[in-house]
Symmetry: C2
Subunit: 174 residues, 2 copies
DNA sequence: TGGTGATAATAAGGCGCCTGATTATTTGTT
DNA sequence: AACAAATAATCAGGCGCCTTATTATCACCA
């Protein structure tokens, strides 16, 4: 997966051109829409590629982060699902993968025999404590291309965008 | 898939908190990074939900757009793959789906017996010409929450972000 | 005390997209 | 004319995540 970033370009150009052909369309809004999508693609693709080098993806990383921060290093899979924002069925698969790789361990919960305790292993902790600073530095290395002022402007605008979608996207989207 | 937008929140909060714990990390950059990802999720999820109501997703929409805009309404699948930014194998699957739904049609190419001509059907055109304006209006309805000035600022900042990733993400990302 | 409904986790099966291998056909070389 | 290399499309198999159904266990209350 080497040239993903360039690869994504024609796709959005084509959609932009198509949107421009819709009668009455506001091209600048279409452009904004597509740029948000494109940027999201580029960034999440970059993150995915970065994490893949360590055998991770965002979902698995979050599970490790959650376990690492839990008080006793012990969590229910349902708790994990909730905090990681995935379904319980999905968390089962994520944990399967992580367990197979030796990053987490499941043990029976003695207080509730339906449940199991999920724990991060020392190997998992080691990986996490190696990867997290690398990820942060990688991010900083890239985004420092924006000035501090630009960064805060961008955050503010993104928040406003998120809010707009949350409010107007709920039910009434014809 | 009703509450996806809210669902995505805790995930990024947790990553933000974790990043803040990395020694020497710049919390504002981490915040920016996560907000870009989050916004991308929210917007693409919204688009996906919108398109799903019409039996489409972004990839399939692009294929229809490309076919609709081709001069004679006829394209090779390899051309489609290139312009839609997916692999040739993927385009085969997309076309299978679209053909089954009656939106496109494959016919043999008489000039090159390896190839096939892909064409949008009248049903496909009808769908496209119904969905595209709806999508544009939906987008406008949401993003008009931002003023024209904010919109253009945001586009500029997103472009700068894309550029930063394209330039610094290529090979040297440790 | 037993039975009913909630709850924890998993299994089963689907979808979309990927990479890498395969089959037909064409093009270029000698 | 014959054969090697390139090319078009597809197949096979994998991954990640989803939704829905299933199994085991628990908690409540008549």
């Amino acid at each position: 997966m080497p040239y993903l970033l360039l690869k994504e370009v024609p796709r959005y150009e084509c959609l932009q051109a198509a949107a421009a052909r819709v009668p009455g369309a506001d091209p600048s809004i279409c452009q904004l829409f597509l740029n948000i999508l494109h940027t999201g693609d580029v960034v999440s693709q970059g993150e995915a590629t970065f994490l893949a080098r360590h055998g991770l993806n965002q979902a698995r990383l979050i599970v490790l982060v959650l376990l690492d921060n839990s008080e006793n290093g012990n969590m229910r899979s349902s708790e994990l699902a909730e905090h990681a924002s995935v379904s319980r069925a999905t968390i089962t698969g994520l944990l399967d993968t992580l367990e197979k790789a030796g990053f987490v361990q499941r043990t029976d919960d003695v207080r509730d025999r339906r449940a199991s305790c999920v724990k991060i292993t020392s190997k998992g902790r080691e990986l996490l404590h190696k990867v997290q600073p690398l990820l942060v530095r990688w991010t900083e290395g890239i985004l420092s291309a924006l000035s501090a002022r630009e960064q805060s402007q961008l955050v503010a605008l993104l928040r406003k965008t998120q809010k707009a979608f949350s409010e107007r996207c709920g039910h009434s989207n014809s």
